[in-house]
């Protein structure tokens, strides 16, 4: 602690000097914190708030980080804990309000970002939190099942089954069997159509399947 306390905006805006390796690493990992936060929250602004809270928490508890271990996994653990604790607090304060906010894109601002999402991104929103986080960590974030289990504070086998169920749910949602939440026109290519087209090319229906299709054609 220095004697100078006048840190209220009298400094010119500049990038911090990367003299502290911990800080340098934090800076490098911010993009991934934002990506994970976005996948948890959905809403970009809430996600950035969460990522910023995470940085503060990480900085405050930097003494508990063991050098040489996985800093990214450590940060993701903090972020995830913060996400659930923020949400519990919000529930306690205004359960009805939060509940509505979780289910429905309330403000027009939220609707505007929801409309930009691809089909897969929207399908992802309709998974349970547990399945979504496991799938993102392993399927997009490149974490091992072991690291994902550490981050989610559960057994490796639990992560594996969550990822498997998440993949299955996503496929069934993209098949269009389950309604997508707020399926706004995105103007983007349709991922499900693309996937189905690939499937059709690879696996021409067998005679048996053709008969079944004919029989069921009135569906």
């Amino acid at each position: 602690m220095t004697a100078r306390q006048t840190d209220t905006g009298d400094m010119p805006r500049q990038k911090p000097q990367p003299n502290d390796p911990f800080k340098t690493d934090l800076l490098e990992l911010i993009p991934f914190l934002r990506a994970f936060a976005r996948s948890l929250c959905g809403n970009p602004e809430t996600a950035d708030d969460l990522a910023q809270e995470t940085l503060v928490k990480a900085w405050q508890s930097r003494d508990t980080f063991e050098t040489g271990t996985n800093l990214k996994a450590w940060l993701f653990t903090i972020l995830r804990n913060q996400f659930y604790s923020d949400r519990r607090r919000a529930w306690r304060q205004a359960p009805w309000d939060q509940d509505a906010a979780e289910r429905i894109p309330g403000s027009s601002e939220e609707q505007s970002w929801a409309a930009e999402l691809s089909d897969t991104a929207r399908a992802l929103r309709s998974l349970s939190d547990e399945q979504r986080e496991a799938l993102i960590l392993v399927g997009a974030g490149g974490f091992s099942y072991e690291d994902a289990a550490l981050i989610c504070n559960c057994a490796v086998g639990t992560v594996k089954s969550r990822v498997a169920r998440a993949r299955k749910s996503l496929m069934s949602i993209l098949d269009g069997e389950d309604a997508l939440p707020s399926a706004a026109q995105s103007g983007q290519g349709d991922a499900a159509d693309e996937i189905m087209a690939q499937l059709d090319r690879l696996a021409p229906p067998s005679e048996h399947a053709k008969r079944r299709t004919k029989d069921a054609s009135s569906e």
Partner: protein, 47 residues
Amino acid sequence: MKTRQRAIGRELRRIYEDVAKEPVPDEFVELLRQIDRRGGKGGQTDS
């Protein structure tokens, strides 16, 4: 089945990487600068 999983996997990575590739907003850099100068252990963050 495998092809579909791969396609979905690609899309998931794209969704994640699209955010990760965004330039880091200034607030983040500013925040790190501030907490650094406060010594990190201050009670400033308990709003």
